[in-house]
């Protein structure tokens, strides 16, 4: 373990906390996406109940499926709002999204480890949450190859975030660096970890 990989967190009371590595953060993010998908589906049910079905299916006609673009865009907007509230709110209030919490990860300010500000939350969400929402919300109006290109761009973007996090000593992805945030995880302190250089990340003492 190199020296520059060590940081101290003067305000953190936790002992044995280290920078959360990419696999943990990836799993946490997928848990969040699953929850958001359920919330988006509930939102779609509410819109369907309030305004009528977004997709009409009639077996006697061809084409059999008809999409109400207006309602679909409304659905996308609702999903985007849900995503913003979910991430920014939990990062700020709970010091981590449910996905983070499930894996005992915390999100804090890069400088002092304190809960992040709303401003930090918004910047972070714009970089990690909005792209996915945007792509998923635009499906009613962007179709065919353009949709495929958008998905490809999205994959490239998330790959950039992943690689930037993996290569950073403090495991700060591009989104963390721009929002000045850091994600840590509680772990069992292994006295000989430092000597063994287990590659588990940087232990925060």
């Amino acid at each position: 373990m190199s020296d520059d990989a060590r940081v101290t967190s003067p305000t953190s009371p936790d002992v044995g906390r280290f920078y959360a590595d990419v696999p943990n953060r990836l799993v946490g993010f997928l848990v969040d996406l699953l929850i958001l998908t359920i919330l988006a589906f509930v939102g779609a049910v509410i819109i369907s109940v309030l305004f009528g079905p977004v997709v009409r299916i009639d077996l006697s006609t061809d084409p059999r499926v008809e999409l109400n673009q207006g309602l679909a865009l409304m659905n996308g907007a609702l999903s985007t709002i849900i995503s913003a509230v979910y991430f920014i709110g939990t990062w700020r209030r709970l010091r981590g999204s449910p996905g983070h919490r499930l894996l005992r990860m915390r999100i804090g300010a890069e400088a002092d480890g304190l809960p992040i500000t709303y401003r930090q939350g918004v910047v972070r969400w714009l970089l990690i949450g909005l792209p996915l929402c945007l792509e998923a919300s635009l499906t009613p109006v962007i179709t065919g190859s353009a949709d495929g290109l958008l998905i490809l761009a999205l994959l490239v973007w998330y790959l950039v975030l992943l690689i930037s996090a993996a290569r950073n000593p403090a495991k700060q992805g591009l989104h963390d660096r721009l929002a000045h945030t850091v994600v840590t995880k509680v772990g069992r302190v292994v006295p000989w970890a430092e000597e063994a250089d287990l590659g588990q990340g940087s232990v925060v003492r």
């Binding site: 998908t37 369907s48 079905p53 865009l73 999903s79 998923a136 499906t139 065919g144 949709d147």
Partner: protein, 568 residues
């Protein structure tokens, strides 16, 4: 070598040993047999090396009698002849096809299948077939599909072989060989307008040739062979009337008569007991590298017992329209095209292939909840899908997913569930002297009278097809495979509206040892002429129900052996 008839000096005479008229399956096969020999061969072809509408129009002529294709449609008039659009279906005529059968009027060839034993294997090589397996039992077991489990022995399965598409055109296969041959000259653009006869009327001395550019010359030869197809062989003999007013070989008014085709129409429909009944064996498919097309047929024993001509039946599945659409959809085609492109077998633009598939892939995305990070269908879609029947479910899944579902269904089940089966009968028509090719007054551009076709069938043909369908129906029923509804009645004179031929023109210079029964003898020599021969399906005494090309080639090879002695 190849020569252009338009550059042969006008009014000159080209002298040769063997003159073959027509560079189709028969003519090319015959000419190849003399490559490298001391025999000088002139192969006269009306067309050039490619299609030309002006030359093709020389085939035009009126059609009377039963509805038939315009006469310039079924044949092609350029180097390679009709092999240029040949479907490649092959099956040798068997012994029964050559026999005299009292229930088939005018049946009985002067030769038997034994006379062709030595030629069928060679014909198989010429037409580029790789297998000599003609017994159905030889395919069963090697094939992943199985024939229908019909219980009796009245209906059996016959297997045709199909030449791969890239090996069907004789022009591509043998053009270079003929170009390189020093003793064979292929005269392109050479239209033969008349066969010239000697002063006593017992031998042909040569032919008159005309080009569309107005050039006219003659070819003199020791032996002449007509190989211009089932209609034009008769046309040329009839038009060669300078010596014989009714045409050469027509002393008994037989030239042009007995025109045969392989008539076909949808004669029945099966309501299958089991919608998942596999008929994949009866679809064109590949077994050990050979393309085969099995069909149902009435056994020869049953034909004899019932007094029926040969009838064979092609089975075509009719599937649920939605599933069929999915299995054959553009989406699935895009996937196949991309697969081929990635395997280096693609014919198009791989970028376009990728774009097509990506575009198709995105279709389903439109029906997922917008903004949901993980694509999940709309609640409306999920509800409808859950309430739908299994078949509706497949067609409801939009876009590529639905198409892939349909496509996978075919892979998993072997085939799509059947709505019904169509039974298309193709039968051996009884030779009928009233079915004939004659000449009309109108001349074509090189001054030859045009041919008129009066295609006729007989009452015995109706009986053969109707009774064969009844037998097939009974066998389907007793095997529990389904109920057969026969779509036409034996009574009446009208044939079904979908009656069509197979582009097989036969019988107009039929073979018989008796000059009063046929135009050519067992050696394909025109009766009364010492050195004039006919090659091609016009010499067929009966038409059988098998495709004629293999027999045409086998007879041409046999004729070559006969001529080798004569010309040498």
């Amino acid at each position: 070598m190849f020569a252009d008839a338009r550059s042969v000096p006008s009014e000159s005479t080209v002298d040769t040993d063997l003159c073959i008229i027509g560079a189709g399956a028969a003519g090319i096969t015959l000419a190849r047999e003399f490559i490298g020999s001391s025999v000088r061969v002139a192969l006269l072809e009306s067309g050039g090396e490619g299609f030309d509408s002006q030359t093709q129009s020389l085939y035009e002529g009126p059609v009377t009698g039963l509805p038939y294709f315009p006469l310039d449609t079924p044949r092609l008039r350029y180097f390679g002849g009709t092999t240029n659009h040949w479907a490649g279906v092959c099956r040798p005529f068997d012994n029964a096809d050559f026999e005299s059968r009292e229930w088939v009027p005018f049946s009985g060839w002067p030769i038997t299948v034994t006379d062709l034993d030595a030629y069928y294997p060679r014909a198989q090589e010429v037409v580029q077939l790789t297998s000599d397996q003609w017994d159905t039992a030889g395919w069963v077991g090697r094939d992943r599909y199985a024939p229908l489990p019909l219980l009796g022995d009245r209906v059996l399965t016959r297997v045709d072989q199909i030449v791969p598409p890239d090996k069907r055109r004789f022009s591509d296969l043998y053009g270079d060989e003929l170009k390189a041959a020093t003793n064979v000259t292929v005269y392109l653009e050479a239209n033969v307008t008349e066969v010239q006869i000697d002063e006593v009327g017992t031998a042909a001395t040569g032919v008159s040739v005309a080009t569309l550019t107005g050039n006219r010359f003659a070819v003199s030869a020791r032996v002449i062979v007509l190989a211009v197809g089932g209609i034009d062989n008769a046309r040329l003999l009839l038009a060669s009337n300078s010596w014989f007013p009714n045409g050469i070989g027509n002393q008994n008014d037989l030239v042009g008569r007995f025109f045969l085709e392989h008539p076909r129409f949808v004669a029945g429909v099966v309501a299958p007991t089991n919608p998942n009944l596999s008929i994949a064996f009866y679809q064109e498919h590949i077994v050990d590298g050979t393309i085969i097309q099995p069909r149902l047929a009435i056994s020869r024993e049953t034909q004899e017992a019932e007094g029926l001509a040969d009838v064979q039946i092609r089975i075509d599945p009719v599937h649920d329209a939605a599933l069929e659409r999915a299995a054959n959809s553009a989406d699935v085609e895009h996937l196949k095209a991309l697969r081929d492109a990635l395997q280096g077998k693609g014919a198009g633009d791989i970028g376009q292939d990728i774009s097509n598939v990506v575009s198709d892939l995105m279709t389903w995305h439109r029906f997922t909840v917008p903004g949901a990070p993980i694509p999940i269908p709309y609640p409306d879609v999920m509800g409808t899908v859950m309430r739908a029947t299994p078949r509706e479910k497949q067609s409801l899944i939009p876009g590529l997913l639905g198409d892939i579902a349909g496509f996978l269904y075919t892979r998993v089940e072997g085939n799509l569930p059947l709505d019904s089966l169509l039974l298309t009968a193709r039968f051996e028509p009884a030779p009928n002297p009233e079915s004939r090719v004659t000449l009309v007054r109108e001349l074509d551009e090189v001054g030859m009278p045009r041919a008129e076709l009066d295609w006729q069938l007989s009452a015995s043909d109706r009986h053969a097809v109707r009774r064969s369908m009844e037998i097939v129906g009974a066998e389907f029923g007793s095997a529990g495979l389904g109920r057969v509804r026969i779509l036409f009645e034996e009574e009446g004179s009208e044939w079904p509206a979908d009656l069509a031929g197979g582009f097989h023109h036969m019988g107009t210079t039929r073979m018989s040892d008796e000059p009063k029964q046929g135009v050519v003898d067992r050696d394909c020599r025109v009766h009364g002429m010492s050195n004039l021969y006919v090659a091609g399906s016009s010499v067929f005494t009966t038409g059988g129900s098998s495709n004629p090309t293999m027999l045409i080639v086998a007879l041409a090879l046999r004729l070559a052996d006969r001529l080798r002695e004569e010309v040498s």
